[in-house]
Amino acid sequence: MAETKSAKPRGELAELSAQLQNLCTAGKRSEKELKNAKKDVFKKVINYMTLGMDMSALFPMMTSCANLSSDDLVLKKMLYLYLTHYASQTPDLALLTINQLQKDSADHDPMIRGLALRSLCSLRVTNFLEYVVAPINTGLSDRHPYVRRTAVMGVLKVHHIDPGTVAQQGMVERVKRLLQTDTDVQVIANCLAVLVQLEPPARLAEKAFVYSLLNRIKEFSDWGQCQVLEVASYYVPSSEAEVYDMLNALEDRMGHVNSAVVMATIKVFLRLTINMTATHQQVLERIREPLKTLISREDAPTAYAALSHVLLLAQRAPVIFEADAMAFFCRTHDPWFVKKLKLEILAAIASSTNVYDIVTELTEYARDISPTMAREAVKAVGRIALAVPDSGGIVERLLLFLDSGSEHLVAEALVQLKDVLRRYPDAAHAVVGGLGELGVQGGIAEPDARAAFVWILGQFGGLVPDAPYLLEPFVEGFAAEDSAVRLAVLTSAVQLFFRRPPETKPLLSAALVAGVADANVEVRDRALMYFRLLRADRSAAERVVAPPLVAVPWFSEALSAEARDAVFAEFNSLSVLFQQPEAAFIERAAYHSLEAEPEPAAPELTSDLLALEAPELLGADRATNLLEDVDGSDSAGPGGIQADLLDLDIGAPSPQSSGGLGGLGGFSGLSVPPAMPGGPLAGYGGPAGPGPGMGSGPGGFPAGQPGPRPQPPVDPFGGLSALGVGPGGPGPMGGPQQIPYGAPPPQLGGGPGGMLGQGMGMGPGPAGPMGGPGPRPMGGPPAPRPPMPAPGSGFAPSPGPGPYPGGPGAGPGGPRPGGPPAPQPGGMGMGMGMGGLIDDGLGGLGGLGAPAPAPAAPAPQRELALNPTARVAPAEFQAEWKRLPPAHASSQPVSGPNVAAITANNHRDFTQHMTQAYIHTIASGGQAPNYRYYFYGQAAGPSPSPLFLVEVLLRADPSGGGSGGSLATTVKATDPAQLPAFLEIWGNCLTGFLLMG
């Protein structure tokens, strides 16, 4: 927009200016000609204005032109339109027109009075308020309703600019009086609209008032009716008789053509009867047909809004729509968003009475030309299989999809069958029969489906005669698989090993060897963990990795019951469409605050920065790559967090096998409670950290873990809440209930939350001291992160000898920054876990590689915690980098493999490793032999918190051939006092990477 302003219209602007000038003075034309000429020019100006060109320079000409023909209403209207658009940009010039506006607001024609008053109130200039107040006050008692209603809206406009003026003038009281006394319904509607913005609607909902509104509701416009109904929905009747009176009075609103009125009426009905079970049931019955009429409209958007509400009702009370399955069958030309909702509704209302019809219909959709539609249909069948107890026939249908020969159907069916088997392990006999012939190994590319297949092989390997041989190709092509599949392969190989040792042994060792050598941290850690577990105690390993499969009684829903109740309380609002409570997606902003707000600077510094610091490194064509890198590192944020969680997964079982690391005491009491307390939140319920530790425990199905899978960008934290870390999760992603926008219900099966909850809701005992914060307020915004209390300070310094035979050294112990960031008291346990893991990983390797430092340095710098979600804009980075003096510089030699490891995968392995320690990458790149990286870390806590900037210059030995090179580090810090602590984290993190590499 900015470009268009400056580039093209220069000429037009000058021309229009000249024309207007001419029209102001030239008097030879007849009055009519002159006006028409003016209208034409004004129209042009308004056209350009709409296009976003800056026409404010014409202000004086426009005003004088219009004033010279002030009797012409068309010109006046155009002028006022122009005026309200530019007044806030050019208040000085606008001041010139105030006089005319004030004069017009006392015109004898009510239309002009209203027009002038509306324009006057819309100028949005704080200094003008003094000129606006008087006309509003007069307007509120104007004899014409058009002026009164405009004045009422003016009160709100003034309130948004300066609430003080409104209070001072007693305007709200005047509006309230109008609300009670006015005869014009639009004035009343506007009063309602304004007052609802200024105070809670419940306060307006007094009996006499609500009754008087409802009695004349038919006089209101459709929109006014909606406003009245909205207020009425807050009214709490004193008796049941009153409820029936209201229901009867509003009964006919249900047959209104305007879906907004119908939805508002339904809301009143539902709220009135919420505590009268029998009547509520009747109401649900009553609203069924009107809703069905709304959803079968031709107008897809309004049908979509109604369908979302049907889905909510169907999830709460599936029985109401049980007999209406046919109404939710998809039509060929329904848009996708309608079809998707219909499929969800069908899955929600499926019961033993209609399941045959629904599944038959869904099977038809699975043949749809659109693969998306076909997959959703299969997914819906899978969900129904989970929800409807008599799943025999439905499992057969899923099996039929396996035979369909079309890749997307087979893939989706596998994913669904995996969940079905977790719910009904007894169905395995029927399912696993034909797996061998599927040719998944070569035929199905999709990682989810491959992982599901591998999982089934691992769990039910005893039933599949050739399971080890089916798994073989996955191990052979290990490196080429997606990381989710690699994780699944490792687990399945171990599970299969316990079931059929002789056949599987070579396979297992091949898998572990491949896993230990893997470039992916999670895969490598899991392989190492299994390896050590097996070596330490085989029977313990069996208990951990391959316990008897326990049927999952139910899967956690995408939306918990509490969250759904919260959404239901916000019936007839956007919450229902987004399937989450208001707090999750509403971000208020100040009114009229954006005019002066500068555009955020585009993040273009990356290349600048490199050019500035190291022009010699910057190949011309690197610039774009670098930008990509920045993107990559940006998105690595959540990725890194997930990786940490997975670390945890692996870390947690270790105490079991090793009999408890000293420092990990918090974990040693891993107790699995017999029953899962308290609903789906139980998984979250143990937010004190141990929860997440369980992921790879007994039920551990790797595909359920969000880590390795690329999460949809909108849902970086959905996985987290599903994992059950809840409040313990690092960073501000808030409580488990705060399901992010667009959290896909698909996790349904994957529902690791459910799994966790089932298998492993932690006993409160061990978790207790760590202090889970308990259930958090519904959908609350991210709680402020209190500083970490010292005693829990997380990571175990692991004083004793390392737990594994591999590493006698205790390793660098705690200082690895995994622990400190654990941001909330509830996260403490997690911090521990992480500390433990790092300890484990580094300790072990340290033992192998280099002489370990003295046992258990007492975690000296624990008070420095880095902010896991620190965000530093490139411009800010650049400015700080220029400003600060180098605080620390060092150089160290690196080996050839290290150079390769650092630069591998487009530098991502390296940068992601750093991200795990909450050291974020802002730029990386360069060309052999010189590479350059810029990192930053920010201490957690209230801003401005100390910022650390790091530059790493990697010079590979120019002689090439992987003979190593040198690595120079420069660190700058805004708070030098914290520098040593940061260097500690940095050093450990870097050393960890180099050692592993």
Binding site: T50, L73, D222, A260, E364, M373
Partner: protein, 461 residues
């Protein structure tokens, strides 16, 4: 309330822009356009409501333009979407037509209307005739290009086929033409199972009125005497006994505010004072007494001469009354991916079979084409009279030998059509009276039209 309102052209240009609350950045129109254009989920069509960075975008599409409202509040989506729809109708009523061109030619008029319709994000007067007193700009009526080329087109459409500004009724220069259009518009949803029986069927209908009567005289409309409406007349549910003797049975219906239903339950008359412009007097829905206008039979056979070929025969019966005919009929047959080529013979002996070309004379002008990318065989008719019967033999060349599974991989077959002057529900307007007593010679034009079209008409195979 809504923070901004804008109208975007198909290319994303802002044609009309109003900012009310000032709590959403001006650049939001670009954010909206980018997101709606490159929507990632499903088939790439953005849902009517989505949220980006705390700003909720609600939009509808009409006449090629998008009407968008943004908000940061938790509004009722039905409210905003209905309101956008209402703005659409108002623009149509005043400009005669809604398209990018029509709006660009009437920018100032549209702004003027918007100023009266929305104040600070809240709806104000939205009734077309109350707005008239506030409007001072003259409309520039733009009829769509295709309308000028094919004036008959309007017969097939509802009242949308009339391109005339309501401001015409206030003209006094003698060119004014008083007229009222009452349209019964029905859409059929019907699914046939593989055995040819109806699996589900529904007719959604509306009585739409578009009035250009000066002075807004009251009118009276009478529907079928033997009309039965679900909950209204049979509170204990519809069954065979209660619907006996009724030709038209509706499951549910709703009426516009202006409808006076005092005598509706007695003699099925509705009296009303029609407001200016277009509105739906009544919407209804029925699943009863429905006679499908088309039947289709699909058979798939191996070709005796080559195992890489198959023959698909489609037999189509048009079962509308003989005095009516369907127009724009299209039969779509999805085929499996391994179909390489398709060649068709039409039942007409003179069919040239040329790809996509008209297939000779005959009453029905038929044609077919095969979209290789979309694997879609299309069979088109310009006109298809009631009682007629057609056959299409398609020869499929396959990549792999013919197998029995081909039968289930062809289809489902989908039909699109429009049948003018036909109502599938058999609902009828028995009379339309204009009650203006003052002037005996006052006799405006009255147009009563029926049109039935397909919403989703599917044959499973």
């Amino acid at each position: 309330m809504i923070s901004q309102f804008y109208i975007l052209s198909p290319r994303g240009d802002v044609i009309i822009r109003k900012d009310y609350l000032g709590d959403v950045p001006r650049t939001s129109s670009e954010v909206f356009f980018r997101n709606s254009k490159f929507w990632k989920e499903g088939d790439g069509e953005a849902p009517p409501v989505f949220n980006v960075d705390g700003v909720t975008y609600l939009h509808i599409k009409e006449g090629g333009v998008q009407l968008v409202a943004t908000t940061r509040a938790n509004l009722s989506p039905s409210f905003v979407l209905e309101f956008l729809r209402r703005i659409c109708t108002i623009v149509k009523d005043y400009c005669g037509f809604l398209s990018e061109d029509a709006i660009r030619k009437n920018v100032v008029l549209v702004y003027e209307l918007l100023d009266e319709v929305v104040d600070y994000g809240f709806p104000q007067s939205t009734a077309t005739e109350t707005l008239k007193q506030f409007v001072v700009n003259e409309p520039t009526v733009v009829a769509p290009a295709y309308y000028q080329a094919k004036p008959l087109f309007s017969l097939n459409k509802g009242p949308t086929g009339v391109f005339k500004s309501v401001l015409e009724t206030t003209r006094t220069d003698g060119k004014r033409r008083d007229e009222i259009f009452v349209d019964v518009v029905e859409r059929i949803t019907c699914t046939f199972n593989a055995s040819g029986y109806i699996a589900s069927a529904q007719v959604d209908g509306a009585v739409q009125i578009k009035s250009y009567l000066a002075g807004n005289p009251p009118i009276k409309i009478k529907l079928n005497d033997d009309l039965l409406i679900g909950k209204r007349d049979a509170p204990y549910g519809l069954d065979a006994r209660s619907s006996e003797g009724h030709t038209v049975v509706l499951d549910d219906c709703n009426f516009h505010e202006v409808a006076n239903l005092d005598s509706f339950d007695v003699d099925r008359t509705i009296s009303l004072v029609p407001p200016d412009g277009e509105f739906a007097l009544m919407n209804y829905r029925t699943t009863h007494g429905f006679k499908p206008p088309f039947r289709l039979h699909v058979s798939v056979d191996a070709d005796p001469n080559s195992e890489y070929k198959a023959v698909v025969t489609l037999k189509l019966w048009c079962e509308v009354p003989a005095d009516k005919s369907a127009s724009g009929l299209e039969v779509e047959v999805p085929t499996p991916r391994y179909v390489q080529r398709v060649h068709c013979d039409l039942s007409d002996a003179h069919a040239s079979g040329g790809k996509g070309g008209p297939a000779g004379g005959g009453v029905a002008q038929q044609a077919w084409d095969y979209n290789e990318k979309g694997h879609l065989l299309r069979w088109k008719f310009k006109k298809c009279p009631g009682g007629s019967e057609y056959t299409l033999r398609a020869r499929l060349t396959l990549e792999k030998p013919y197998g029995a599974s081909l039968r289930s991989e062809i289809g489902p077959v989908n039909l699109r059509f429009t049948i003018p002057m036909h109502s599938a529900s058999r609902i009828a307007l028995k009379y339309l009276q204009i009650l203006k007593k003052a002037d005996k010679n006052y006799n405006p034009y009255r147009w009563v039209r029926y049109v039935t079209s397909s919403n989703s008409y599917t044959f499973r195979t």
